[in-house]
Symmetry: D2
Subunit: 341 residues, 4 copies
Amino acid sequence: MIRLACDYQEGCHPKILEKLIQTNMESTVGYGFDAYCESAKAKIREACQAPDAEVFLLVGGTQTNATVIRSILRPCEGVIAVKSGHINGHEGGAIEAGGHKVLTIAAHDGKMCPQELDQYIQDTFADDAWNHSVIPAMVYVSQATETGSVYTLAEMTAISEVCRKHNMVLFVDGARLGYALASEGSDMTLADLARLTDVFYIGGTKVGAMFGEAVVFTNKTLTRNFFTIQKQSGAVLAKGRMLGIQFDVLFTDNLYFEISRHAVAMAMKLKEALKAKGYQFYAESPSNQQFVILENAQLAKLEEQVAVSRWAKVDDTHTAVRLCTSWATSEETIDKVIELL
Amino acid sequence: MIRLACDYQEGCHPKILEKLIQTNMESTVGYGFDAYCESAKAKIREACQAPDAEVFLLVGGTQTNATVIRSILRPCEGVIAVKSGHINGHEGGAIEAGGHKVLTIAAHDGKMCPQELDQYIQDTFADDAWNHSVIPAMVYVSQATETGSVYTLAEMTAISEVCRKHNMVLFVDGARLGYALASEGSDMTLADLARLTDVFYIGGTKVGAMFGEAVVFTNKTLTRNFFTIQKQSGAVLAKGRMLGIQFDVLFTDNLYFEISRHAVAMAMKLKEALKAKGYQFYAESPSNQQFVILENAQLAKLEEQVAVSRWAKVDDTHTAVRLCTSWATSEETIDKVIELL
Amino acid sequence: MIRLACDYQEGCHPKILEKLIQTNMESTVGYGFDAYCESAKAKIREACQAPDAEVFLLVGGTQTNATVIRSILRPCEGVIAVKSGHINGHEGGAIEAGGHKVLTIAAHDGKMCPQELDQYIQDTFADDAWNHSVIPAMVYVSQATETGSVYTLAEMTAISEVCRKHNMVLFVDGARLGYALASEGSDMTLADLARLTDVFYIGGTKVGAMFGEAVVFTNKTLTRNFFTIQKQSGAVLAKGRMLGIQFDVLFTDNLYFEISRHAVAMAMKLKEALKAKGYQFYAESPSNQQFVILENAQLAKLEEQVAVSRWAKVDDTHTAVRLCTSWATSEETIDKVIELL
Amino acid sequence: MIRLACDYQEGCHPKILEKLIQTNMESTVGYGFDAYCESAKAKIREACQAPDAEVFLLVGGTQTNATVIRSILRPCEGVIAVKSGHINGHEGGAIEAGGHKVLTIAAHDGKMCPQELDQYIQDTFADDAWNHSVIPAMVYVSQATETGSVYTLAEMTAISEVCRKHNMVLFVDGARLGYALASEGSDMTLADLARLTDVFYIGGTKVGAMFGEAVVFTNKTLTRNFFTIQKQSGAVLAKGRMLGIQFDVLFTDNLYFEISRHAVAMAMKLKEALKAKGYQFYAESPSNQQFVILENAQLAKLEEQVAVSRWAKVDDTHTAVRLCTSWATSEETIDKVIELL
């Protein structure tokens, strides 16, 4: 069975596994205060050109979103996201469980429009009864988005400017950050992101790690007691070095970027081949997730050999499916899928 | 440097690592719905002689305590624990973050007294103003306790009876469950625990796994939507099979028990040697944690070669320290520590 | 200054005040366990033809919504409301502060469409990843709605049927319930509402009381420990009889309905006069809130003598304003406002 | 039936009632933005000699404690109180429902010892694992305490100094503040309290009002968005002027202090008479609550004519009961009770 349903269906990149094997019998302090974590954090700071940033290593994406958001917002404050934002629909209400409302605005190709964001914030505070309502205090965007689209440097800069104008914290969910940075036409770097945001994270789980998300706070006024909030959120790994080791490997010799480029290349090959064959796409994506519209009978047949994600019903006879690539996706796999379609 | 400060300072047991290596390139569905998780759960049910139990796999202990407790309690309900209970002092307020009070009663050698529990519940409801106060609805005990002591079958049975008499959910924190079952004089089995409790967990992190806790619900009225609550709590691992693989290995050929017996044997060797040398103990423990009282100068010297946990100040010149054994503790290490003391 | 901005700008109905004066020096038990509260509850049960219902008296609307909702929902469960629902936008995120997401569907003239509700629930559970998302477990509608519209018996029956089909709790916010029941063309009674819902409340604050909302639970499986949850929510009044006295008076000699009819009659007089003068309305309302569109210069002039609520900007030169009537609105006031417009 | 069980069993002081009657038909803006509230706040600021303080008016004590505490604490932060503190046992877990742990230390005659507080905070941060635990960030004391005792100026100053030394917010629950200030031997003023604390409240419910608590923030860095947090907490009264009117009357011509002195005088009369008769007291109180130990048969007989609060079982034949005085307690009542005992 070929599996392209998601980008977290294999184990970890062999270089990570190798390091886990090699270090397994070592004895270190727990909770992430070991030398591997320190090394990983130093490399991340360097990759972000943010020598003063504070870096924390957590286990998974929902956990990271929930922990970061509730560490920053006060009661009655909310976070603005597009309707299709991961925190709004796919995290079991984790943000609300932390006490905060997700305030939604429309998504355009999965992305937030800076002008609409600006207008939304202005409208909110222009309302005479604004102080009876949740007060927006943070903006959440995903890079790449939930449907694979990618913010350009100009777009992210515009969002950042709106946030700074209104004193909103800008938080970027980078669960698939590598794929955004490696996407076709991307003009953004880690350093740009560090410069434009208050806090963001570099996803490991979907980009080669067994698990792990590295949160980078460039706005250090936000990090007071973050470790304890992380602990309280069940987001501290006892054998914390496992996270350090993984990110240390990912940020050695550009492995993180190499993995990302490979996955995007595989996705682009698939996309171009399917476009050439006349397939329609449910969303236009330059990154590792592709959303193809299939006729239902064809989908049923494909699923005999390839596991995909059924994403949305398009009409009575067509379904949009998601196909994801990762470090583990071989060219043979892509060729086979192209052949099957 | 020898490290005995805790039981989570090495990686995972070699058999687990081997299986992780062997399965790394396999492609499976995510979130724990794969065959490894199914296999692990089946083996756990069998080991518990609880064919109808529902098993969930989570990442860490604080996360598991918080998720289980908030999945069960309604608003205004609280959980009774002894003062030294892990949820009361060492989890950053995770239970309160979930909205619930930890109601404390005295610990005796780290354990809850069934009679005192009974009295506490009776007193609570005998108060005219009971309905102005948090309503106890759950009892939490750790097996082994935070100071290494172990409930006998008779003791746990008595606690269970009090819980059933008062319609309280009994939840056992088994972060170190293996060490309790393997401890000297233990007369309890996994099946006993399954029979006596509503829900408990089998700790992996501290008993050979890289991470992971297996929650066993024998009271299935408590599990409605647990997966989504787990998701909301940031406690679902995307590459969920990593948990399945680890518990599958731990529950193959009795590895879990073998690891536990080894660690306890090492702890007993250390304990007996130090007792023979005249050392006093801060707590009497038949399991893998030992709490020895050292003269401060001697401690400082020891720490040049052995990392221990400073547990409590005993007096101006003495400190109680914790030494833990695990699957990774060799007899040479123990001999060396004995020699040093 | 004439004030029609809202329906809570005077004190309480004279008959309530009279009873408060008359009973002021009496000494009773606190927290609502006095005879006045018992009497009020009995009268409410009778008015609802629900002899087994449980009635609780709370202070305000946001408090009541938040307390009822969090008393019923479990973690990961959400409440469905229309976008314009009071809990979604005007309660400072009180539902989210209780840990629950407000799941929104479109409003049509302020109301929820039963078919859309049915479809929303079906779609939610049809999604393969439904268990990664907030699980709808309750439906919230306001009667009258936030823009003054009123559900007919047929409409409320249809919503009730959808809720029962999908095992959702139906909760009706009756902050302005009197005005709905007294509205033109209304074919619904308190008894209908009691029969069709699981829990609803009878608003006092906006219908003649100084403060107070009476929650009626006909589904008594939902009331376990409600008093303590109320206490925990800061929603128990120490001098609880103040609530009992007010509702006792309101449900004596049909005062509640008489107040409501008067206010609606005043609103209808205003509405008809303004319609006759050619004014456009922002929302069509048969109850005590009227939403008129005014030219901005005219509004500015009006506001010199009449306080209204600015509701929405219609276009660059027009604004929708809300005018509310209550027990305290005299016919002279309405005549004066008609004259001014 | 004579009722001395609590200090909230009558209505409100006649002067308040009179003003409510007189203003009932006035029409004002809602939510506390009216002129009565402004006037009340100005008078309170003046009485506190704190011209820059921000004052908020809430409905009840539990509500106020919960709202103030959750408005200030961040996730993972807790509030230190004595074990007998109202927030620890009698508010249905309202603080925990807001996500925060109540950290308890011993009470001495109902009061917190400054030295023990200092030691507790030092010990907390001296622990190597402090960052795995709830972080104390606020200190809560009640003036008068739950058992009627009263902090002297020296004692409160010492607590304030400990708080400032450790950067803890000092919050004083003044549900019975009037009785503390009017108590025998009291050497503290409102101005002292304003100077020594960050935030405190002046209880109305138990000191003559129908309901209402006035929160005074002298540390204004803590009030950002407090109104919205109050709204979110269900703690904003729609007809907000009812609170303003009550506190305006209470702070006109020293009524608040006059009421308090009367109640304390009645309590002292009772206390001295019972002492003279040889009764033992469960707690030594110079304020309006008295805790007398009665033989059970005598208690049963007394309860035929006087409602008291059964406070604690002293031994098999004796019970401690609470008798409270208020503005409504007449000298005849006290004489009668003395006669009965």
